[in-house]
Each structure stands twice: as structure tokens, then as C-alpha cells.
């Protein structure tokens, strides 16, 4: 007899507890992000594909075309084209290709650059139909502020 009513009591109690939990959830704010209309805030440490850093003062990139990143990358993602102009001491950068399909986002390039010319972007909206869509010219990206 004690067990009979005990079960009834504990059962009813647990049901009411459950209902309190769901009604609290009902009145609490939703966590859904309505994706194309709303976007999550991307944390600073997010690793998107590598981009070049803009030098605020000159309005140009900071790269000195040393090629360290090209050599450091374990997946051979970079291809750097340079040119030595008449009467200039240093080489100038003409193209900075990144093949993002091979990148593992390891970060060695960002670490190895002596002048801090490259960084991670926070680009996550990437989708495409061909591999070639992920071959970027970062120099162009910097100028057109798109990719």
C-alpha cells in the first residue's frame, strides 16, 4: 500500500518538475540564429583562409616578397610572383596566389612571416562548384576587398 501511493506521489512530482522545466524554456529567449538574415559573431580566434594585412599608413600590403611563407607552408599552398624593377633595390610582389583547397589552416605561414603581412580572415561563407573557385589571388583580394 505504501509502495502504491509512493509511486503515485513520486511520479506526479517528477511530471510536475518536468513541466516546470519546459514552461521555463518556453519563456526563455530562443537560441536559433536565422542564418541568412542574422549572423553569428565570429570570434577573433576564428581561422578563415589567409588574407593579406592592409598597412593603414600607406594603404598597401606589408609583404616584402621574401618568400618565407611559401617555403614554410607544409602543403605548398602559396605561389608568389615577384619582379625586380629597374633602379629599385628590392623585389616587388606582383601576385600572391593561395590554393585554399590544400590549406589545412595550420597557421605556420602566419607565424613565419617576418613582417606580419598575412593573417586569418573570418570568412566562413564558402561554397563553390569547382576547385578553381578556391584559388585566390590575395593581392587582388586586398585591392578589391572581396573573396
Amino acid at each position: 500500500m505504501k509502495k502504491y501511493f509512493g509511486e503515485l506521489f513520486t511520479g506526479a512530482k517528477s511530471l510536475i518538475e518536468g513541466m516546470i522545466i519546459t514552461i521555463k524554456a518556453f519563456f526563455s529567449p530562443v537560441v536559433t540564429v536565422q542564418y541568412p538574415r542574422e549572423k553569428n559573431i565570429i570570434p577573433d580566434a576564428y581561422r578563415g583562409h589567409v588574407v593579406m594585412v592592409l598597412n593603414e599608413k600607406t594603404g598597401e600590403h606589408k609583404c616584402i616578397a621574401c618568400g618565407t611563407c611559401e617555403r614554410a607552408c607544409p602543403s605548398n599552398c602559396f605561389k608568389i610572383l615577384t619582379e625586380k624593377k629597374e633602379g629599385e633595390k628590392k623585389k616587388t610582389l606582383t601576385a600572391f596566389y593561395l590554393d585554399f583547397t590544400k590549406c589545412s589552416l595550420c597557421g605556420i605561414c602566419v607565424e613565419s612571416c617576418p613582417v606580419g603581412a598575412i593573417e586569418y580572415s573570418n570568412e566562413y561563407n564558402l561554397a563553390g562548384f569547382t576547385k578553381e573557385e578556391f584559388h585566390y589571388d590575395l593581392l587582388k583580394c586586398l585591392k578589391e576587398t572581396s573573396c
Partner: protein, 327 residues
Amino acid sequence: MDFIANLPPHFFRIPIALTLVISLVFINALIMVYLERKIAGHMQFRLGPMEVGWHGLLQTAIDAVKLMSKQLIVPDKAHTRLFRIAPLLAFTPAVLPFAVMPFAPNLQAVDINIGVIFIIAMASLNVMAIFVAGWASNNKYALLGAMRSVSQNIAYEIPVLLSLLSAVFVVGSFSLGDIVGYQGKIWLFIVQPLAFLIYFVSSVAETNRAPFDLPEAESELTAGFHTEYSGMAFALFFLGEYTEMFVVSSIATAVFLGGWHGFPLPFFEYSSVVWFLLKTYFLMFLMIWFRWTFPRVRFDQLLNFSWKYLIPFSLVNLLITAVVVKL
């Protein structure tokens, strides 16, 4: 003109009432499906439908259009005629109880003197529809679902009847008009709290809704008795379920929660209908709340709960009521 004037009043009353009732059934299903999705969403920190119409308001209407445009597939070895009849069987008895439902003092199609019994009889016809559907489908899941439904409904019909009977004892009439009229002074919910509780729990089981949704337990039986149904036939089962929800909630309102009684609202003339619908929808909200809180019970738990708790309790309650009424 004489001919029309000589017709009995029911001749006009019933077709008008039925038209209103059928529109009510469809509108109720539209509203309830929308509310169910929205409430379910918010109980899980989601938003529910948002895309079609303002806050997804048109989602259910669009879904209904989709269901209508789908092909009605009859499985190869199914019993074709029974297979087609079953959805209609599920839908028709669900609509009929509205004929005796007292929505307001003057808004009741017919007040027959055995209203309560009529409603119970109609509500239990639903089981037959489920059984026919499960049998005719020639599918093991459908048959298992149908068998579960039958044993569940036998188990839960009894407490429903016994608890309503306690209310009928207090009032001394089977007519729903009389029962609501009696509650002008005091709601039966206060006189018969246990009967109300038992009625409400068993009626959730009667409507085959979670946590008692074993006949269509999707994790075990795909979709139970309506596994083989598609398109509008499926929609009729669905419609039947939501109508049944409305029916059991409005019986609870009429018998236990004072029906259309309530203090006058600003819309003075219609306030009784508003009260009736408010109470009914509150009970339906409770049902949705149950569904999104409780996990499905196991089959033995389901039957144990009815035979070991609900039926003895309602019998004792009935006995006490009978003694008190007699004294």
C-alpha cells in the same frame, strides 16, 4: 412559403450548425497545428515555423495544400475498400459531438437529453477507424499500432466514463445544457477535482497523444496505424486527431470548468462563447505542454496506470459521490 414555415426548426438548424461545425473543425486544425509547432519550438529554444507568412502563419495552410496535391497510394495487398473508408471513419465521428456542444446559452445545435453519452459514443468510434486502418493496410507496423490503440482505448474509456458519471451524479442529468446550467453557482471542477484530473489524463490517452501515443510511436512503429496513408487520407487522420483534442477539451470545459460561465467581457453578447473557447484552448495548450514534456510510456506502464490507478480511483470517487448525493 407555407411549406417552408411548416418545416420543423431543426430542418434549418442542423444544416447551418453542421456547416459552422465543419468550418470550425478546419480552422481549429489550422490553428492547433500552427500553435503546436510554435509551442514545441519555443519549448526547445527554437522558433518554429518562420518562413511562410508573418512568423510562419501560413505554414499550415501551405502544408494542407501540399497534402491535397499528393497522390493517394493504396498498397498492393491492402483491402482497398476498407483502406479508403478508414480515414472518413476517423473524421466523421470526430465532428459529430459538436452537434450537442453548448458553446453559449443560445449556441447549441441540439440539446439532447443524453448528450454526454452521445459524445462518448462518438468519440469511441474513432478506435474503430484506427483499427480498420491498421487492418486494411496489410502492414505489420500498422496492425501493431491498431492493436495497441484498441487495448489502450478499452483501458482508458472506463475512467473517462466513470469520471464523467461522477459529474452527472452531482447534476442529475445527462444533458450538457443542464450540466453547464448547474455550474452557474460553482464549477464542478471544485466539487469533483479528482474526477476532472482522471478525465483529463484519460482523455489525453483517448486522443492518442504523447505521452500515450503508442499507436503511432514513430520510433518503434514508423507511423503506426497510418504508416501506409498518404496525401489527403493522412490529412484526415491528422484532422481527426486535432478535432478529437478539441472535443475532449470542450467536454472537460463544459462538464468541469463551467462551460460558458465567466464574468461578462467587453464584448458582452459574445462573452460566453469567448469564455468557452478560452477555457478549451487553455486545456489544449496543456495537452501540447504534456506532449513536449513527457517521454512516451511503455505499453505495460500505460495499461498498469489505467487499471491500477485511474480505474480504482475513479470507482472510489464515484462511490463517494453517490453516497454524498444520496444523503
